[in-house]
Symmetry: C2
Subunit: 99 residues, 2 copies
Amino acid sequence: MIRHTVVFRLKHPAGSAAESKFLADALCLAGIPGVAKFERLRQTSPKNPYRFGFSMEFADATAYQTYNDHPVHRRFVAERWLPEVAEFMEIDYEPLAGA
Amino acid sequence: MIRHTVVFRLKHPAGSAAESKFLADALCLAGIPGVAKFERLRQTSPKNPYRFGFSMEFADATAYQTYNDHPVHRRFVAERWLPEVAEFMEIDYEPLAGA
């Protein structure tokens, strides 16, 4: 299992229609083959600069690569993510061996 | 639901006995009242400097505060986290309203 997460801050004002539309349109990613447990989240810790997060799980590295290469993902990154996201960090988790 | 996560890098060499002991001893946190879905994870993205993560869930802010204040947590932070962790970031997630 690979849990792919990204925590981010949008260029849009908090509570704006543009913010809502970005978060709604991101649901297109949930339908890409291999994506499981897709979540859109609010980031609430005051100890980092981010305000939202997406989380999803893949069975293995092949499924993750299929997602990365999928045209729906590539189009979302090019047309929505890069223009609308101010800053972000990707964090990927896998089970600790022996855990 | 509040998902409290922390992504971090240890001062210990990768694969060292000290690294293993830190990760094993962190299981004490899983037994604190209110902690659910405690996970120890390996961070595998090359796009950030961190190597491990912990994730846990609380029913609400009261349960989260109870954990923060619990002597087992406070002792772990003082005696293990602060001396052994090189850098870290806390990220907390809550469901997106309306999601």
